[in-house]
């Protein structure tokens, strides 16, 4: 069990906390879960409860195996999006990468990788790490005309 800030989970899921806290505890989600078709014993509600109690179960088999089929959401009387929470848990348990983050948020907004958006989002990182530069390459040759003490290299 790993202690993670639980508010962060809801932030990552893209929905408000109260969208998940309306859970009645009826266990309908467990009765329809796809994983239970193939012989697992999982109850998606356990994940919600554990987050409300301030714990995050990263070792729970659902975090590893959830297929995001949304059957639970479909039959839930309150339409709670449990796969979103599980996805958020998956994201948090991985190491945070700015590239992955930008690609994922691009998919979330546009449904595909929209390059102008990705580059905008990543611009500061790309600039800092030298992947792209402020000025085109030929501008560097201008420096040849400058006096020697001004030139960088």
């Amino acid at each position: 069990m790993q202690m993670i800030d639980t508010e962060k989970v809801f932030e990552y899921s893209g929905y408000k906390k109260e969208d998940f806290s309306v859970c009645l505890g009826c266990k309908i989600c467990a009765s329809v879960c796809t994983l239970n078709d193939i012989g697992e014993n999982v109850n998606p509600q356990e994940i919600l409860i554990s987050i409300f109690l301030g714990k995050v179960l990263n070792t729970h088999p659902l975090v590893r195996l959830c297929t995001s089929c949304y059957r639970c959401t479909d039959s839930c009387p309150w339409s709670i999006r449990i796969p979103e929470v599980i996805r958020a848990l998956k994201e948090i348990s991985q190491k945070e990468e700015s590239f992955g983050k930008a690609f994922r948020s691009s998919i979330k907004i546009f449904g595909r990788i929209y390059e102008p958006y990705v580059i905008l989002k990543l611009s500061s990182v790309l600039l800092r790490k030298g992947y792209i530069k402020f000025f085109p390459k030929w501008i560097e040759y201008f420096s040849l005309h400058l006096p020697h003490f001004v030139r960088r290299d």
């Binding site: 906390k17 109260e18 806290s21 309306v22 859970c23 009645l24 505890g25 009826c26 266990k27 309908i28 467990a30 009765s31 329809v32 239970n36 697992e40 014993n41 109850n43 356990e46 409860i49 409300f52 109690l53 039959s75 009387p77 309150w78 339409s79």
Partner: protein, 587 residues
């Protein structure tokens, strides 16, 4: 005065009953071909409705229109002029709306997946044979209610399922399983539940939507005690949720009163709509059971009738007002509320404490504290469900205990025994039993909410005393005034029908069987002097004789029917010798 009652169900009839007692002219409009509404669709309640309806059927001042509906209404000189579909035009000063509830039919139904009213016709006592394969059945509760599209609780399905179990067991002995979210019972039903548990009825705190029907059975998959389980049942009964009547929308346009967001009539003051002279009762207010429909029916009928001697009748009403429960505000930051008890008497307070705990928890949560509510059973019917939803949305954590789980409170550490390992460290633990102890001095009639009293009187205790508010049953505050008006209405009904059994002293042998049968303890055995002669001189001896105390008598007639020498005369028995009282199933 002329009063129009829209809807011929149980609440409409009881409103008409009060208005007739006041001497008003009553017109009842019913949409269906026969009166009764939802109550008459339940096989075992049909007789009850009929006896209730027969009391006012032959009154000269009542008019009854069936199979028709209201078309339009105009207001003229302080009176409504209402046109019906059969062409008749009715003038009325007051209108009582008693349209009742409509049934929600579950989408998944089949030959073996039936709704609860369909199941009712299966086990109806009129049928000579019940289905031969009725060996293993399951009830699934909360179908079509307590969801996002309809958040209210139907408040009667749990109780109705309990009755259906009883009616099933009377005919056959199948294995019964009940899948529930919360068991919302009231009053005496907790004892019935206890009885059924002991006799092998299985209650499972889990719900399922994975239901598949074959040719000879229905498969249900559910999750319980940490495991996924699959079982086959011969029949699966889905409860019918109760939804507001769609007819109300049409009526609200005709008469101009407003509805709330759930589709029920909006109450301005208790039982009054926001249009003057239009009252509402029964299922048009909120989902309620038969007894509450009678209660609100009486109250609406009373309000419409405008009693002049209200001050005189007030003295008979016995009120204990709703208790306000304030938790001492501790400095702690983690609070745990425990809603659960094993004592059937304390279970009567579930309804009251569920709403109180929800409210307290929401208040504490707003102050930034961490609040857990651990529930064995959470009973907040009808609009209480909205409070519950708000508490959940605010972030109060609800932990629902399963059947095999128990709570262990060890000082400040609260842990759950059973399947899951869960430990909470709390600064303050509030248990229900601790709170019930505070209310010990109050006089509370715990059975009163659920069971129909004899002669259909929802508030009457005896002729001098009508119980209202907390004394009747601890419940939500909005019921206090409704009960108060219902009690006043009942006093008016009772004051005009003075009908008590009478003892013929020369016949009475003083055996005391009537004393044992009396529910309210109204019969005493007095001694009287008798002259006896056995082969010789007269002797003076004393012999017991029964005497009835009319102030305590309910007028149920049990004493008259139990008397072995038929020494007790009861009027209603006398007048209806041709039709003997039907041995109706109580409950």
């Amino acid at each position: 005065m002329k009063i129009l009652v829209i809807g011929g169900g149980i609440s409409g009839i009881s409103a008409a009953k009060v208005a007739l007692k006041f001497g008003h002219e009553v017109t009842i409009v019913e949409r269906e071909d026969r009166p009764g509404g939802l109550m008459a669709r339940i096989a075992n309640c049909r007789v009850g409705f009929k006896t209730f309806f027969d009391e006012i059927k032959d009154e000269p001042r009542i008019r009854f229109f069936t199979g028709c509906n209201v078309v339009s209404s105009k207001k003229k000189d302080g009176a409504f002029i209402v046109e019906l579909t059969n062409g008749k035009v009715i003038e009325a000063q007051k209108i009582i709306i008693a349209t009742g509830l409509s049934l929600y039919e579950p989408e998944i139904k089949g030959k073996r997946i039936v709704s609860s009213l369909e199941y009712d016709t299966l086990i109806d006592q009129k049928n000579d044979i019940v289905p031969t394969d009725l060996e293993k059945i399951a009830f699934i509760l909360c179908f079509g209610s307590r969801g996002r599209d309809y958040p209210l609780c139907s408040s009667v399905c749990c109780s109705y399922t309990l009755r259906q179990i009883k009616w099933t067991l009377m005919r056959k002995k199948p294995e019964i399983t009940v899948f529930y979210n919360d068991l919302r019972f009231f009053g005496q039903e907790f004892f019935l539940e206890h009885l059924f548990r002991n006799s092998g009825v299985r209650f499972v705190r889990s719900n399922s939507r994975n239901i598949e029907e074959d040719s000879d059975s229905v498969r249900i998959r559910y999750f319980s005690e940490g495991k996924v389980k699959e079982e086959r049942f011969n029949y699966v009964i889905l409860t019918n949720a109760l939804r507001p009547n769609p007819e109300l929308i049409r009526l609200s346009k005709i008469f101009g009163f407003s509805l709330n967001e759930y589709g029920f009539v909006k109450e301005n003051t208790p039982l009054c709509t926001d249009v003057k002279d239009i009252y509402a009762c029964g299922g048009s207010l909120e989902p309620m059971n038969i007894k509450d429909s009678i209660l609100t029916g009486f109250a609406a009928g009373y309000l419409a009738s405008e009693d002049e001697n209200q001050e005189k009748h007030k003295s008979k009403v016995y009120i204990i007002e709703n208790q306000t429960l304030n938790l001492e505000k501790d400095s702690g930051s983690v609070f745990v509320f425990y809603l659960g008890t094993d004592d059937p008497y304390s279970k009567m307070f579930y309804e009251y404490f569920s709403s109180v705990f929800c409210r307290l928890a929401t208040e504490l949560k707003e102050k930034g504290k961490t609040v857990y509510i651990i529930t064995k059973n959470l009973i907040i019917p009808a609009y209480g469900e909205i409070e519950y939803e708000e508490a959940r949305r605010k972030g109060v954590v609800f932990i629902h205990l399963e059947e095999n789980e128990r709570l262990r409170i060890n000082g400040k550490i609260v842990s759950i025994e059973g399947g899951r390992d869960l430990e909470v460290e709390a600064d303050r633990v509030v248990t229900m039993e601790e709170m019930v102890d505070n209310l010990k001095d109050l006089e509370i009639l715990c059975f009163f909410r659920s069971e129909p009293q004899l002669r259909w009187s929802p508030t009457k205790w005896n002729n001098e005393r009508f119980h209202v508010g907390f004394a009747r049953y601890p419940r939500e505050k909005r019921w206090e005034l409704r009960e108060y008006y219902a009690a006043l209405a009942e006093i008016v009904i009772e004051s005009q029908s003075k009908n008590f059994p009478q003892v013929m002293e020369d016949r009475c042998s003083g055996c005391g069987s009537c004393k044992n049968s009396c529910l309210s303890g109204a019969i005493q055995l007095l001694s009287r002097e008798v002259m006896l002669s056995v082969f010789g001189p007269y002797l003076k001896t004393k012999q017991p004789v029964a005497q009835i105390n009319t102030s305590l008598c309910l007028g149920c007639g049990l004493c008259a029917s139990t008397c072995p020498s038929q020494a007790i005369e009861f009027d209603t028995m006398k007048t209806s010798t041709d039709r003997l009282p039907v041995q109706e199933n109580l409950l």
